[in-house]
């Protein structure tokens, strides 16, 4: 994500999504850009864009519940982590980290991600 205009990306690659205020923190919207369904999340003050097509079996991955997950700390004790950064595909419960598209359990599956730019109160994704 980039909030500053420099270096200026090629304007043709930027696609307007919505006004930044339209996506409250912890929310998302799903838009179609150049034939692709893309989810734009607003989470913990940052914006993230991911493909809404699950790499598992094609489910609408980004329409699932957004939350955190259990992890272990250095002492192997259970801790809550990644609040509002884990989306669970509604088809099979596969969980993805919206900050980089990675599947929580495997490097073999990953949702494609797109750069997000916020300019003058508007949100753009770069394709």
């Amino acid at each position: 994500m980039s909030e500053s205009p420099q270096p200026d990306p090629d304007r043709a690659n930027l696609h307007h999504v919505t006004a930044a205020d339209d996506i409250a923190d912890g929310e998302r919207i799903i838009v179609e850009v150049s034939g692709r369904e893309i989810a734009v999340f607003h989470s913990n003050g940052e914006y993230y864009a991911l493909s809404n097509y699950c790499t598992h079996q094609g489910g609408p991955a980004c329409e699932g519940l957004l939350g955190g997950t259990l992890d272990v700390d250095d002492d192997d004790e259970l801790v809550w982590a990644c609040e509002d950064e884990i989306v669970a595909c509604p088809w099979h419960g596969w969980e993805f980290d919206i900050t980089d598209g990675t599947h929580t359990a495997s490097d073999e599956y990953r949702l494609p991600t797109y750069d997000v730019h916020v300019r003058d109160g508007d949100v753009y994704v770069e394709l």
């Binding site: 272990v72 192997d76 419960g93």
Partner: protein, 370 residues
């Protein structure tokens, strides 16, 4: 040990080494009672008493109407070195990990401290009467899962004994399951000692772990056909979820006497579920099946499907058995496998080196023979 890659393996005579990873004693409690230590020596060995014909048995009897136990079929007794030699002549192993029979029920003994004392007594007897590393006779030190801390101490006591090549948990009646943190001192002791843990159930121990299921299957056949693999799947699922192989990365487990087909099924089944439930097993850094391939081994007997070579070869390939399957005879138990039976099938699929692995080379790497 030169390369055997070029040599075609036609029979067991062509094998460099045969290691039987599950060769049973049929010990009686009277064999090991004299080896009890205080206070159970005094408690159990002072007076004869009248046990009404059965109450003197401290190991719970399952009461299953089973062909061997009711005298419908004959099975060898293995309580002395002479008995062992008789079985060795049949199975033709070079080395064996000698395992118990009655003490497969140790985890069901209804007195935790006595169970720990019986483990110690069995190991005393084993070292005194059975083990002989110069002759290839190695033992698995047994531990009582009822007392994990004492089990850890038992491992430490036996770790430097010549001829103790593994530790055995009678895993069929463990409570809690083997992923529980109460066992971590035991795992830590085994890992430090470099001793793999053999997990071995007995069909009858299911009576304590799946009591209502046991009651419902009121014959020996359904119990024996299902309980071994069912209990192993239950323990493995618990151990993986709680991260036991991640917590003890240098510890090796050996899964015994449960057949093969369920194992590649379980790998894939558990991986499949894990993909949607990573939050429930946050200790893991790899797929569950990768931990199984890296730290778990399987012994062969009883191989199902000897009349279906394609099934058996494919099944073994499905869990990379060329690196993780180890021959075992299970002698003298009634479903033991003759040494050459599996080999006849493996020849059509596996290379000579892979067959050598399955019959002995992998076991030589896994067990603490030195």
């Amino acid at each position: 040990m030169g390369s055997t890659t070029e040599q075609r393996i036609r029979s067991i005579d062509d094998l460099d080494v045969i290691v039987d990873t599950d060769f049973h004693l049929t010990e009686r409690q009277e064999d090991i009672f004299p080896y009890l230590e205080s206070p159970f020596d005094e408690l159990l060995n002072s007076q004869q008493g009248d046990d009404y014909g059965y109450l003197g048995r401290v190991y719970p009897a399952h009461g299953m109407v089973y062909s061997v136990t009711i005298g419908k079929a004959d099975s060898e007794t293995v309580r002395t070195k002479e008995d062992i030699q008789k079985g060795r002549d049949l199975v033709e192993w070079d080395k064996a990990i000698i395992t118990p029979t009655q003490n497969l029920y140790l985890g069901a003994v209804h007195h935790d401290d006595l169970a720990a004392a019986l483990a110690t007594a069995y190991n005393n007897w084993l070292l005194d009467k059975v083990v002989d590393p110069d002759d290839g006779l190695y033992g698995a030190a047994i531990v009582a899962p009822q007392k994990p801390q004492k089990a850890a101490e038992e491992v430490e006591r036996r770790a430097d004994e010549d001829g103790i090549a593994a530790v055995m948990i009678p895993s069929g009646s463990v409570d809690p399951l083997l992923g529980h943190e109460s066992y971590y001192p035991l795992y830590d002791a085994c890992e430090r000692a470099g001793l793999p843990i053999k997990m071995h159930n007995a069909a009858g121990t299911m009576m304590t772990r799946f009591p209502s299921t046991w009651q419902a299957m009121d014959r020996a056949l359904p119990v024996h056909a299902t309980s071994h693999n069912m209990m192993h799947q239950t323990n493995l699922a618990d151990m993986l979820t709680r991260g036991v192989p991640e917590r003890f990365p240098d510890l090796t487990f050996v899964i015994q006497e449960s057949g093969l087909g369920w194992y590649p099924y379980f790998m894939r089944r558990f991986d499949h579920d894990y993909m949607g439930a990573k939050w429930d097993a946050p200790m893991l850094d790899k797929r569950p099946s990768e931990y199984l391939k890296d730290q778990f081994y399987v012994t062969s007997q009883p191989v199902e499907g000897l009349d279906d070579p394609q099934y058996l070869n494919e099944t073994i390939r499905h869990f990379e058995g060329e690196d993780s399957l180890m021959f075992s005879s299970d002698y003298p138990h009634f479903d033991f496998d003759n040494t050459g039976e599996l080999l006849k099938i493996l020849r059509s699929e596996f290379t000579s080196d892979e067959i050598q692995n399955i019959y002995g080379k992998t076991a030589e790497r896994v067990y603490a023979f030195d």
